[in-house]
C-alpha cells in the first residue's frame, strides 16, 4: 500500500470512467496518456481541436504524416469513421457543448470548481493559453488529471485559486494520485481513496474541509494498469 498511484494508473482510472460512445478531448501533456488505457473493444471517439474527430494512435515512425497531428503537435492517425473540419467548426463543437468529456491538467482547482492551468502568473513568463479556456467551459464533464501536491508539497486543491484562472466553476471532477474528488456545491467531496489515504489525511494535505462524504468513499487498491 502506498499513498500515491502512478501516472499510468491514474490515466487508467480516468479511462475506466469514460463510457462507450463518448466524444472526448484529451488535453496536451499527461491527459494524453488516458488514450493508452481506453478499452480496445469499445468505441470512444477522440476529438483534437486542430480539426479531427476519430483520432487514432501514433503512427509507426516511417508513417509519420506532418499533416496529421494532435493539439500537442504530435503525429497521430485517423480511425475509420473520422472527419476533418476547420478551426471555427472544431471550437464550435467544443463551445457548443457537444463534447462529453475533456481531461485537462491543472496548477490549481478551487473548491468552487475554478480551474487554473495556463499561467503561473510569474513575472517574465511567456503566456500561452491555446484551447484550454474553450475546453474548460465547453465540455459536458471537465475532468482534471493532476498530482494532488506540487513538487514543493503544496496542495493543488485550494479554497481560491491564486494563479490566473482558465475557467470559472467549470471543473466536474479531479483525479489525483491520492484520491478522486467531485466538485459539489458544498466544495470537494471525496469520491475514491487510493491506497492508504484517508479523508482526514487528505484534509491535512489540502488544508480544506472536505465535504461530508455521503457514502463512505470507495477505497481503491493501487494496481498497475496495462502499459
Amino acid at each position: 500500500m502506498s499513498t500515491r498511484i502512478s501516472r499510468d494508473d491514474l490515466a487508467a482510472r480516468i479511462a475506466a470512467d469514460i463510457p462507450e460512445g463518448s466524444y472526448v478531448n484529451l488535453g496536451i501533456g499527461a491527459p494524453t496518456l488516458v488514450a493508452n488505457f481506453l478499452p480496445a473493444d469499445q468505441e470512444i471517439i477522440l476529438h483534437t481541436e486542430n480539426g479531427l474527430l476519430g483520432m487514432g494512435e501514433a503512427p509507426a515512425p516511417d508513417r509519420i504524416d506532418p499533416d496529421l497531428i494532435n493539439a500537442g503537435k504530435q503525429p497521430v492517425t485517423a480511425q475509420a469513421g473520422a472527419a476533418y473540419f476547420h478551426h471555427a467548426d472544431s471550437f464550435a463543437m467544443m463551445r457548443g457543448g457537444h463534447l462529453d468529456v475533456c481531461v485537462l491538467g491543472a496548477f490549481q482547482v478551487s473548491q468552487g470548481g475554478d480551474l487554473a492551468n495556463w499561467s503561473t502568473g510569474a513575472p517574465g513568463a511567456i503566456p500561452a493559453v491555446g484551447g484550454a479556456m474553450d475546453l474548460a467551459i465547453g465540455a459536458k464533464s471537465v475532468y482534471v488529471m493532476t498530482d494532488l501536491l506540487t513538487k514543493q508539497g503544496e496542495s493543488k486543491l485550494v479554497a481560491e485559486c491564486t494563479y490566473p484562472l482558465t475557467g470559472v466553476g467549470c471543473v466536474t471532477r479531479v483525479y489525483t494520485d491520492h484520491a478522486v474528488f467531485d466538485v459539489t456545491p458544498g466544495g470537494f467531496r471525496v469520491r475514491e481513496l487510493f491506497g492508504d489515504n484517508t479523508v482526514e489525511g487528505l484534509e491535512e494535505l489540502t488544508g480544506l474541509k472536505l465535504a461530508q462524504v455521503v457514502e463512505r468513499a470507495k477505497r481503491v487498491e493501487t494496481t498497475r494498469g496495462p502499459s
Partner: protein, 249 residues
C-alpha cells in the same frame, strides 16, 4: 476567363505593404505556408502584424519572418512551445508585441470578420485575465464576454489543390485555420501543391469556394506524398527520416 493562378511565389506576395496585418494559416507546422512566408521575407515588407495560432517553430517559416525583424505584433493563442526560441528571444527583448487570444475566440473572431458579424458574446475566457476590460453579459443564466472580429489585409494560406477560380481542398489537420482566414482578409493568397483543371474538384467537397481567394500559386508536392498518395518516410517536420536522425523532437 477568370484566372487567379500566378506564376511564382514572388508574384503571389506582391503588393504587401509595410504595416500590413497578415493572417498566416497553420497550426504549428501543419498547414503553414512556408514558401509564401519565404517569399514575404524576400519581398521585404516590415512592421507587420501577424495573426497565427502560434508564434513560429524552429528557424523556418514564421520563425524566420520573426527572426528577420519584420513583425511588430503577433496575435495568437499559443506562442510558447518547445521550439519557439526565436519568438521567446524577441519577446523577452521587448521587440515584439503579443496579443494573446484563447484559441476558440481566435477562430470565432476570424470567422466573424469573414461573416460580417459585428461582435459576439463568447462563453470562453469569462472571469479570466484574458477577458479583463471586456464587456460582460449574462444571457439565459450563463456569462459571456463580447468579442470583436479580427480582419486582415492579407491572408497567406496553404492548401492541397486549387483551381483557377480559387476553389480549394486541404489535407487532414493541415486544414485548420485556412478556410476561415481565407474569408477574413481583403486579399487571400494561397499556395497549393498543384493547380488542377477547373471542374476537377468535386463541388460537394470544395472546402474553400473561390469567392474567398485572390491568388493561387503552385509550389510542388509536399515531401510525404508521391503522385498524390501518402508515402511517409519523413519526421514530423517533414524532413526525410535519414537526414533528420538525431535531430527531430
Amino acid at each position: 476567363m477568370i484566372d487567379k493562378t500566378v506564376a511564382s511565389v514572388e508574384d503571389a506576395v506582391a503588393g504587401i505593404e509595410d504595416g500590413a496585418t497578415i493572417m498566416i494559416g497553420g497550426f504549428g507546422r501543419a498547414g503553414q505556408p512556408v514558401e509564401l512566408i519565404d517569399a514575404l521575407i524576400a519581398q521585404g515588407a516590415s512592421g507587420l502584424t501577424i495573426v497565427n495560432n502560434n508564434a513560429g517553430n524552429g528557424d523556418t517559416g514564421l520563425a524566420a519572418l520573426l527572426a528577420a525583424k519584420r513583425v511588430r505584433k503577433i496575435i495568437c493563442s499559443f506562442p510558447r512551445q518547445s521550439d519557439s526560441w526565436v519568438f521567446d528571444g524577441l519577446y523577452r527583448a521587448g521587440e515584439l508585441e503579443l496579443e494573446l487570444v484563447p484559441q476558440g475566440n481566435l477562430a470565432e473572431r476570424i470567422r466573424a470578420a469573414g461573416a460580417g458579424i459585428g461582435a459576439f458574446f463568447s462563453p470562453t475566457g469569462v472571469g479570466t485575465q484574458l477577458a479583463e476590460g471586456k464587456e460582460e453579459r449574462e444571457i439565459d443564466g450563463r456569462r459571456y464576454v463580447l468579442e470583436y472580429p479580427i480582419k486582415a489585409d492579407f491572408a497567406l494560406i496553404s492548401a492541397l489543390k486549387g483551381d483557377r477560380w480559387g476553389n480549394l481542398v486541404y489535407r487532414e489537420t493541415a486544414r485548420n485555420f485556412g478556410p476561415i482566414m481565407a474569408t477574413a482578409a481583403t486579399t487571400t493568397i494561397v499556395q497549393v501543391d498543384e493547380t488542377v483543371e477547373l471542374g476537377s474538384l468535386d463541388p460537394e467537397t470544395v472546402v474553400t469556394p473561390g469567392i474567398f481567394v485572390d491568388r493561387v500559386v503552385a509550389v510542388g508536392q509536399r515531401a510525404w506524398l508521391r503522385d498524390g498518395e501518402f508515402v511517409g518516410g519523413v519526421d514530423i517536420e517533414g524532413r526525410p527520416l535519414a537526414a533528420a536522425e538525431g535531430e527531430s523532437a
